[in-house]
């Protein structure tokens, strides 16, 4: 029986013990990763922000169309088609069109024609939404995303 005070020789080759400990550590680590991921579902039952607005032929250059169900204003120009939100970034009222842009009826925020804030309490410009094309050719607006203002989707 060696004394406790004597330095012990390092175990030269305890392969079995190291492998056992290592794999146990890996298994615990993997399980923890799994458990951490568990509360985050792959997909949540939330309504998607994507909606179709019709084929491009319904939006010849010069068209302006408001889609009331989604509070989105579609503008078609020679450069392409763009979608802008009509929901005030302050407290969510629906902005009204005015000669110089958009006015919010609730607290007087003012936006210019591109949705940039020119006055009032609104913290941010009105967001522009990305537009894409669905397989059947219809234009799709995705109001869960955002594109820089002034982005036009070229048909």
């Amino acid at each position: 029986m060696p004394s406790r005070l004597e330095p012990q020789a390092m175990p030269r080759r305890d392969f079995l013990g190291m492998a056992g400990l290592g794999s146990a550590g890996l298994a615990i680590f993997g399980s923890i990763i799994g458990m951490v991921r568990l509360p985050k579902p792959r997909v949540l039952p939330e309504a998607s922000g994507r909606f179709k607005i019709g084929p491009p032929s319904e939006f010849p250059p010069g068209t302006v169309k408001v889609i009331p169900e989604h509070n989105v204003r579609i503008v078609a120009t020679e450069r392409g088609i763009a979608a802008m939100s009509l929901v005030c970034t302050h407290l969510g009222c629906i902005v009204a069109e005015a000669p110089d842009g958009f006015h919010c009826p609730c607290h007087g925020s003012r936006f210019d024609a591109d949705g940039k804030v020119v006055g009032g309490p609104a913290p941010r410009a009105l967001p522009w939404f990305p537009i894409s094309r669905a397989a059947d050719g219809a234009l799709v607006v995705d109001n869960s995303g955002e594109t820089p203002s002034g982005t036009f989707f070229e048909v």
Binding site: L16, G17, A19, A27, V43, P45, A47, S48, A135, D136
Partner: protein, 503 residues
């Protein structure tokens, strides 16, 4: 106790630790692999990538291929309570290029999706099934405890009825629903079944029949899959096979008609959907229910009366119900019965017979509608060669002898009208409605001259008893004595022997 250094732990414990943790690692790896390669929807989305790549011949095709990523897809419509992940595998439903590929990638047939954008309606609102499932068997949910499994494709038109009236979709993708609604009318289903409070009372009201789940149906005798649509199909083909002792008449439908009627009955749901989804025509129909539109007497007759009385111009023996059905548009009844009698019988029915009440509190018909039905009854073209007999002026019904009449009744009438007139094959005479509304002249003429084209013979004729006027007056007095306060005690004591004396 201190943990000894690792090289001093028992060998056996190290071996066990290694085995157990390698096992756990293997299980983790297997789960990851199964999720990545074993799931149905990933498999189909990979296949769809290849299809998209093969079809990416133009700018649009290439951008669709680029946008395609492998992920769970779903359509959520909170207004309808829909969460449908069907689009995780049915990837090409809105891509017209996918007409020739095999399912589940095919484009949705017909114009349905153009009119009903899938992001506003989802899939299960029309097709039923378990929308949140991402495995085909679970999505169909036929063998699961799921209330509304996937509808067979040929019955899907029933869902048009959630938002549309059947005539509205006729020729616009809902032909089968429309023809089912016509069959419901033509086959006289209203005679026994109520919709919106209007109809007969022998069968169930069917307002929400399409919402029934399989646990509410007796499935024991259903040969096919135990689902509600299959129950309806087999039940319409042979009601008594599915429900032993069912009183329902076999509607005599072809296979196509059976599917149409099943489609219509499945459409009866009265779902509480948002108003914005309901078509104007259905909204109008729902609003009209308290104030039904004007149907002609003939339409009312066909809807509510014809199932039992058929054309009504002849009496017939119904084998299923074991009853003579009176010829309510027959020459004699129309000539001898007055409108008060007819209206009372329609309004309150004839207790003791199969005739239910049709008044506002029972079958839901208004007095005006009953009036129109009576006008229709009286409008039947009468045969010109039939003599309509007037009453002999000299008869006095106040001196009839009910005891003598009772003997005659026992001899000639009891076979069909039952002891004490309680009704057998022929209508009951002892009930209050008949007793309070039929006048003696009507009873006299019916006995004396019979009902033309119906089972009731003319008892004045020598071959049918040759009753004299005096005998008939006695018989009328006996019939009059039945009923008003129930069957007379004397008639109960001995059937057909109203005096109670032993013969």
């Amino acid at each position: 106790m201190t943990i000894p250094p690792i090289n001093q732990i028992d060998h056996r414990i190290k071996i066990w630790l290694l085995i157990v943790s390698l096992g756990a690692l293997a299980a983790l790896a297997a789960a990851a692999l199964r999720e990545e390669f074993g799931s149905e929807w990933r498999h189909y989305q990979r296949q769809y990538t290849d299809i998209l790549a093969a079809k990416a011949t133009d700018e649009q095709g290439r951008s669709l291929l680029k946008a395609h990523e492998i992920k769970l897809r779903q359509i959520v419509v909170p207004e309808l309570g829909v969460t449908d992940r069907c689009v995780s595998c049915h990837l090409g439903i809105d891509d017209p290029r996918m007409a020739a590929v095999s399912n589940p990638f095919k484009v949705h047939p017909g114009e349905y999706l153009r009119v009903h954008p899938v992001e506003r309606f989802g899939c299960t609102i029309c097709h039923r099934g378990q929308g949140a499932a991402v495995v085909f068997a679970e999505a169909k949910a036929e063998d699961y405890h799921w209330d509304y499994p996937l509808l067979p494709i040929e019955l899907t038109q029933s869902s048009c009825g959630l938002c549309h009236t059947p005539p509205e979709v006729d020729g616009a993708g809902g032909d089968r629903l429309a023809s089912g609604a016509r069959l419901f009318e033509i086959k006289g289903c209203y005679s026994c079944h109520k919709l919106a409070g209007r109809g007969g009372s022998m069968g169930l009201a069917l307002d929400r029949e399409g919402l029934k789940v399989k646990g509410q149906m007796p499935m024991a005798n259903v040969a096919g899959p135990h689902t509600v649509p299959e129950w309806l199909m087999e039940h319409f083909a042979d009601p008594q096979k599915i429900v032993a002792g069912s009183q329902m008449r076999n509607p005599g439908l072809s296979y196509d008609e059976t599917r149409a009627l099943t489609t219509y009955v499945l459409s009866l749901q009265e779902r509480d959907l948002p108003r914005s989804y309901i078509s104007p025509a259905l909204n109008a129909l729902l609003a009209e229910r308290n104030n039904p539109s004007e149907l002609s007497g003939e339409q009312l007759y066909n809807r509510f009366c014809s199932n039992c009385h058929d054309r009504g111009t002849y009496g017939r023996f119904d084998k299923a119900y074991n009853k003579f059905m009176p010829a309510i548009r027959g020459a004699s009844l129309v000539a001898y019965a007055d409108s008060i009698f007819l209206a009372a019988n329609i309004r309150s029915g004839r207790p003791g017979t199969m005739m239910p009440g049709w008044g506002i509190g029972a079958g839901g018909l208004s007095e005006a509608e009953i009036g129109r039905i009576i006008s229709y009854l009286k409008s039947a073209p009468l045969p010109t060669d039939v003599p309509i007999r007037e009453m002999p002026a000299s008869l006095d019904f106040s001196h009839g002898n009910p005891l003598q009449g009772g003997h005659t009744f026992a001899r000639l009438c009891v076979g069909c009208h039952g002891p004490g007139g309680i009704g057998n094959y022929a209508p009951a005479l002892s009930n209050k409605i008949f007793q309070t509304t039929a006048d003696s002249a009507f009873i006299y003429r019916t006995i004396a001259y019979g009902r033309i084209d119906a089972a009731m013979p003319a008892f004045r004729n020598p071959g049918r008893g040759g009753l004299s006027d005096a005998q008939i007056v006695d018989l009328v007095a006996y019939v009059r004595s039945l009923g008003a306060r129930g069957t007379p005690r004397t008639a109960v004591a001995s059937t057909g022997n109203p005096t109670g004396h032993k013969p």
